[in-house]
């Protein structure tokens, strides 16, 4: 189901095209927002429990009274979210009020609108644009403007540090991300997300699913470059230097509290989903079943897409609770001296492979 189909389906589309468009967008946007909220709660709970498992503790177990009391601490993320909503919303006296209020929404919008091009299954995509991947790469770096706004408007040195760091980091890591996606586009010769997935049907080497990660050695490398750079774009450990807690207190979010802080939090998790979703689409076959020909209905497609994405999110959580944090110059040298050259060579490699063996 896409937004175009919705518009065609409306009986009023001929008479009031503008109103129809607005309605269709709303009908798509509200479920996506709800999905992000529910997904964030699930991943926050997952993060609590996975980190507890890794750290030899039990995590939320449902003791005490109120929301915490439910079985296995399942309501803990809801209690957390309620706490954030109920907390006092403080705007520092010296802050630039307009920018301060606007910043969390800009950060969130960057992550939110990227969802419109994510193919959840064969039929479930809001808009299958012919520039799908390009669109996601473009809008997901919108968040950096919000982060700089947050850092600048807070009028706090820690926030400024965090904002400048994240600007440098996100813009730098855009390059390896884009270059590794180019390797994919060269093979699929389409930028449409559904087109990329359709390319990956069938078998390769006789036994492996024809996912791009298995297509050739260069795309195999490209997957890791994409995924690791994606983690850097989400500001997750080991690349969480913009909000490095032990150095910058909370980076760009230092002055934020309550609901505004919750929005930053939500966008971080939404960004993780976008990165994992694009990685699953471009390299792991998206909604394609791992056994070609079996379990390939749209409902199974949703299952495969979600499980691949959730697995990659699990890997991000796993990283976070294992690694220390890099320093800001080391982060840059990994990007400019490591990933970018390798990704460039990769493009040539894919081209040569395609010409000689493809």
């Amino acid at each position: 189901m896409t937004v175009d189909q919705l518009i065609d389906w409306f009986p009023i589309s001929a008479t009031w095209p503008g109103l129809t468009f607005l309605l269709a967008v709303l009908i798509c946007a509200v479920p996506v927002f709800l999905f992000i909220a529910v997904y964030a709660l699930v991943v926050i709970y997952g993060e609590l429990k996975i980190s507890s498992f890794m750290q030899d503790k039990v995590g939320p177990m449902g003791q005490g009274v109120g929301l915490h009391a439910w079985r296995w601490g399942l309501l803990q993320p809801i209690a957390d979210a309620l706490k954030l909503i109920l907390k006092e919303d403080i705007i520092p006296a010296a802050a630039d009020k307009k920018l301060f209020i606007l910043a969390p929404f800009i950060v969130f919008i960057g992550a939110f609108i990227a969802f419109s091009a994510l193919p959840f299954s064969q039929t479930l995509i809001i808009a299958d644009m012919n520039i799908g991947v390009f669109y996601i790469l473009a809008v997901s770096s919108l968040g950096v403007i919000g982060l700089i706004m947050a850092g600048w408007s807070s009028n706090n040195k820690w926030s400024l540090y965090g904002a400048m760091r994240s600007a440098a980091q996100i813009i730098s890591y855009e390059i390896p991300v884009a270059l590794s996606i180019i390797a994919v586009i060269m093979l699929t010769s389409t930028m449409s997300m559904q087109g990329i997935i359709q390319y990956q049907s069938g078998l390769i080497w006789g036994f492996l699913p024809n996912w791009l990660i298995f297509n050739n050695p260069f795309t195999f490398v490209a997957f890791f470059i994409f995924f690791i750079s994606g983690i850097a774009e989400c500001n997750r450990t080991p690349f969480d230097i913009p909000e490095a807690e032990s150095e910058l207190v909370a980076g760009a979010f230092t002055e934020y509290s309550g609901m505004r802080y919750a929005f930053f939090f939500l966008s971080e998790y939404a960004n993780m989903f976008v990165v994992a979703g694009v990685a699953a689409t471009a390299f792991l076959g998206g909604w394609q079943s791992p056994i070609p020909g079996l379990f390939n209905s749209p409902a199974w497609g949703l299952w495969w897409f979600m499980s691949k994405t959730m697995f990659l999110i699990f890997v991000m959580i796993w990283f976070r609770w294992t690694f220390p944090r890099l320093r800001v110059d080391q982060l840059m040298s990994v990007c400019w001296k490591g990933f970018t050259p390798i990704a460039l060579v990769n493009i040539f490699g894919v081209g040569i492979w395609y010409l000689t063996l493809g």
């Binding site: 980190s51 890794m54 750290q55 030899d56 503790k57 040195k157 540090y161 450990t237 080991p238 969480d240 230097i241 490095a244 807690e245 032990s246 150095e247 207190v249 609770w321 294992t322 690694f323 220390p324 944090r325 890099l326 320093r327 800001v328 110059d329 080391q330």
Partner: protein
């Protein structure tokens, strides 16, 4: 390529900051990320302990020593009672000496576990911190079993200890050692030899031996620079000359000798040495004997003064006590190893980045309670 010189920005790290290890304020002059000058501002935890001691009897001083270096209270008690016993020329029973050494070394392990775990936190690794706190907890349980307290023990008294060992103590400590020794490998796997951790700490904040000596840095920080200096070996107090243990020093295994990684690694090795000492002490400890035998009825040392130093987990901890023959000390001065460690911070982290200042500060393992007293 020329260097761009921007205006300097003064950044206040602390007193409320996640990684100043207490209430320390650092006035940091920065140019972008590069730090050009660091001025530590101390005194936020000043509680006038040395002045308080002048108005307390000698027994009442011991709880104050607990609260100085609250991470290693046993070692602080130990330093004070060793000085007092030398001043009063008391000989304590064998059993007491063994108990004290076991407690001091257990506390050294606990203190190093905290230092290493929190250092992991400083460079962004959360999980090792919880691993080390989990194991530190077992040591605190042993202390609780012995004297009822988990942090501030007031355990070692002049001429004895407050409580005799509980039933089953030796087995409990053996169990702990059997559990703990393999865990060191776990710490090494998750943190010490982690590539990112090495990137962050190797070659950073190199403390040259001559700089360390001229600033009076001692303990693991000095040994990290490759100087073999340990009061337990150089000026053996209590019964330390009976035990066979090594003094690990930094060798620059992954970087330069004296970098943050070396200081970290020396602490890791020292924990293993401490387990060796504890094992020997558990083997030789007399099975019975009165732990209060040498306890004086009233502490009234003869006129005179004494300076005695011991090896606390942070280094050379000295007590200077002047007695005028009354039941209260005329003057009591502590030489704090953490204070000298903090004083070297500007010297070794100038010119590095903001993140490195936090890493260097963490590697020096300061305790503000001891610096401010």
């Amino acid at each position: 390529m020329g260097v761009v010189q921007g205006d300097q920005m003064v950044l206040n790290i602390g007193p409320q900051h996640p990684s100043t290890h207490g209430v320390l304020r650092l006035k940091v002059a920065t140019d972008g990320e590069i730090v050009s000058d660091i001025v530590p501002v101390i005194g936020y935890l000043h509680r006038c302990f040395e002045k308080h001691c002048e108005n307390s009897t000698y027994e009442q001083v011991i709880p104050f020593t607990d609260r100085c270096d609250y991470i290693a209270s046993m070692n602080n008690n130990f330093g004070y009672v060793v000085a007092m016993e030398d001043l009063m020329e008391i000989k304590v029973p064998e059993r007491v000496e063994y108990i004290r050494v076991i407690m001091a070394e257990l506390n050294r392990i606990a203190s190093h576990l905290l230092a290493l775990g929190v250092y992991g936190l400083d460079v962004g690794a959360f999980t090792p911190f919880l691993y080390m706190f989990r194991d530190r907890e077992r040591i605190l349980d042993i202390f609780e079993l012995t004297c009822g307290a988990r942090l501030l023990y007031n355990y070692m008294w002049v001429g004895g200890v407050s409580h005799d060992l509980p039933v089953g103590f030796v087995e409990t400590v053996y169990n702990f050692l059997d559990y703990f020794e393999p865990k060191v490998q776990e710490y090494n796997d998750i943190l010490t030899y982690n590539k990112i951790f090495i990137e962050r700490t190797a070659d950073v904040g190199v403390l040259l031996p001559e700089v360390a000596i001229s600033f009076g840095v001692s303990g693991p920080n000095l040994r990290g620079s490759g100087v073999k200096w340990d009061i337990r070996k150089e000026e053996p107090y209590s019964i330390y000359e009976r035990f066979d243990f090594d003094v690990p020093i930094g060798q620059g295994l992954v970087g330069t000798t004296g970098d943050c990684w070396d200081r970290f690694h020396v602490r890791m090795l020292e924990m293993i040495e401490s387990t060796k000492i504890i094992r020997q002490a558990l083997k030789d400890i007399p099975t019975n004997g009165d732990v209060h035998q040498a306890l004086p009825k009233k502490i009234r040392p003869p006129k005179g003064s004494i300076y005695r130093r011991t090896e606390s987990p942070r280094g050379d901890l000295g007590y200077y006590i002047i007695s005028d023959g009354s039941p209260q000390p005329y003057r009591l001065k502590m030489r704090s190893p953490a204070f000298t460690a903090l004083s070297v911070l500007n010297e070794i982290s100038r010119g590095w980045m903001l993140s490195d200042v936090i890493a260097v500060l963490g590697s020096l393992d300061i305790v503000l309670g001891e610096i401010d007293r």
